[in-house]
Symmetry: C2
Subunit: 185 residues, 2 copies
């Protein structure tokens, strides 16, 4: 039942936006009245929280195949990692907004929901570290660049390819700056 409710909330988020979710709408979609949702969730924020955990858990599940297919060439591998996250982000705007932006006033993920998010970041950090000798500051810049591109995409050309077209260029820029050797592929 919790699963059904959260799925209904995702559907609504994709149709009308994350902030436009209404408990009455969610309830209607699962054939209930709004107050009945409180049998399954403590509050609306708890539903957002479940969605947040959902999304990060789902992203986490995409990592093993990604890592399996990672190139032996460090720069190519960084491109794969970057592009993987970027593609996942722009594929679903409400999902990205919930995962990485503070769009919902007052929403703060619970420790349990936050756990997969932290694991993913730690994993990314470790993976990048395995490819090159990257300091924390450089890792932070990498994050900022990818995040900045995603924001530009949603702000200026959602649905288009204008920003996507420069991702490679931007990641190369970063790879150059941390001294990653040019692709041998």
């Amino acid at each position: 039942m919790r699963r059904e409710i959260v799925d209904a909330a995702w559907d609504i988020a994709r149709e009308v936006g994350l902030t436009q979710i209404t408990l009455r709408d969610v309830a209607a979609r699962v054939g209930m009245q709004a107050p009945s949702l409180y049998t399954h969730f403590d509050s609306k924020m708890a539903i957002y929280d479940a969605m947040f955990g959902d999304a990060w858990t789902d992203y986490e599940s995409t990592l093993p195949p990604l890592v399996d297919g990672l190139s032996a060439d460090p720069r190519t591998a960084v491109h794969q990692l970057s592009r993987h996250f970027y593609d996942y982000a722009i594929a679903d705007q409400p999902r990205y907004q919930l995962m990485n932006e503070r769009l919902i006033p007052g929403f703060e993920p619970s420790p349990e929901a936050f756990a997969p998010s932290e694991r993913v970041v730690a994993h990314a950090r470790a993976t990048v570290a395995s490819l090159a000798d990257v300091a924390d500051d450089e890792f932070l810049i990498w994050f900022a660049v990818i995040g900045g591109l995603i924001n530009q995409h949603f702000a200026n050309d959602p649905g288009g390819t204008r920003v996507t077209a420069v991702v490679r260029r931007a990641v190369d820029m970063w790879a150059d700056s941390v001294g990653l050797p040019l692709s041998s592929d």
Copy 2:
């Protein structure tokens, strides 16, 4: 009177956050009842709109002195421009959220309020172009990098200097990638 209302709204935004502004609170602060605000603004969004125009107009007013003090050395000038925007952004989170993020559900700036914002971007574009032969894609990446750093600042270390400390490094990275000669200063 419009001025007073908008100022009260800014005060509240800085105290409790942009999304926590309440018409009843704004009204109370200027000695009115909530419905009376409708004499001066068509809706709550119209107040946000005035604030948006306000913020961009204010930023625009900081540009002439900045341009006056711009270094003759292109790379140093890019650092100045970048740092100027970055500093302005992190100095006031609600202001930045209103100017550059879609934090308010359903808020879309009116053409009039949007005008100064567009002028600023065009001005930045022209200024950067005067410093180096920068393609549109490269300009977009520059924007993404600065915006990404600002987001990282607010997300990970608001009030701290962890992100600020890497701004120079990140901008140098970009300057390298567009072939800006090293500082002669």
